[in-house]
Amino acid sequence: MTDISITDQHHGDAEVGDFFALMKPRVMSLAVFTAGAGLVVAPAPVHPVIAFASVLFIALGAGASGALNMWWDADIDAVMARTRTRPIPAGRIGRETALTCGLWLSGLSVAMLALTANLLAAGLLAASIFYYVVIYTMWLKRTTPQNIVIGGVAGAFPPVIGWAVATGSIGPEGVLMFVLVVIWTPPHFWSLALFTSGDYARAGVPMLPVTHGPERTRSSILFYTVALAPVSLLIAFTSIGGPAYLALAVVLNARFLAGAHRLWLRRSDDAEADGHAREKAFFRASLSYLFLLFAGLILEAACRAGGWTVAGWPVLF
């Protein structure tokens, strides 16, 4: 063997970590957590091996979406400071390799989830990959400032897929978890966009702060944060909710609403002056908000399993 084949390659040898980074591990971890939560809180018990394998294949599907997103967005990733060290713009992985990885992982994850769980779960996983890659990445992201409002649907699939793995259906609880993530996505992403809007402007991505300015973005964040509260509180009065979740949801919503209100009162000059400290804090708070809400649902499931339930707790549906 000679080194000719190696030196002829346009891109440097990718390391394992580069392929892992190609799958957007942060997005994947959120998908794993919410899918796992959807599976755990569902009323039907699932064998631990089936549960583990299902979450693994959901994670692979999310990773495949990430790889296909990086394949398509390689040009704008190279322009943005936040993304220019990703494997493709940094030259460690070629675009064709990313495309191949993404397509193979998509097919593998959907087929394996169908065999491991059921066709509904696999169909939802396929739909989430299609939605994220084709509807959001290829179409909406570069054409409308409402990109992440409509595109947020893609990230809302995992808890419903987890629920479908356990029950073989979707159900009102699954729909509410889905709506929760859809409405949570705009405040989460727009708070990020407020302190990276220069990046998006350079890349020509019409994010709301770029097209309508930071003031309009702050109002929109407040609007969606207000809309988020009733949905998250309503879940307390379904079969997966309960008093512990309700208490947690009240505290988290109060904190999140206060943060959105403070953000709304801000002027751009103040934000520039302190390096967008409050926007960054709100972005971090949005992550803990969703994480803790789903953790609350898992806690309720544990209470039900242990027989610690409140008699007469109102369950609307």
């Binding site: 080194d3 040898d13 390391e15 394992v16 064998h47 091996v49 089936i50 394998a53 394996m112 491991t116």
Partner: protein
Amino acid sequence: MSDRHFRRRKTNLAIGLALGGFVVVVFAVTVVKMMGGAEMEAYDHVLRPSLLESSG
């Protein structure tokens, strides 16, 4: 061994481990699916006590 070969070896090892892990997961899922939560008794050459007529 050059740095490039070392990195390639590390990648190959990771791919090997991932494939091995995949085989283990598929095998475990297959066993769980086939057993359906209960012990299996195959129609093979092993004595199956459950098929024996009771002595009474």
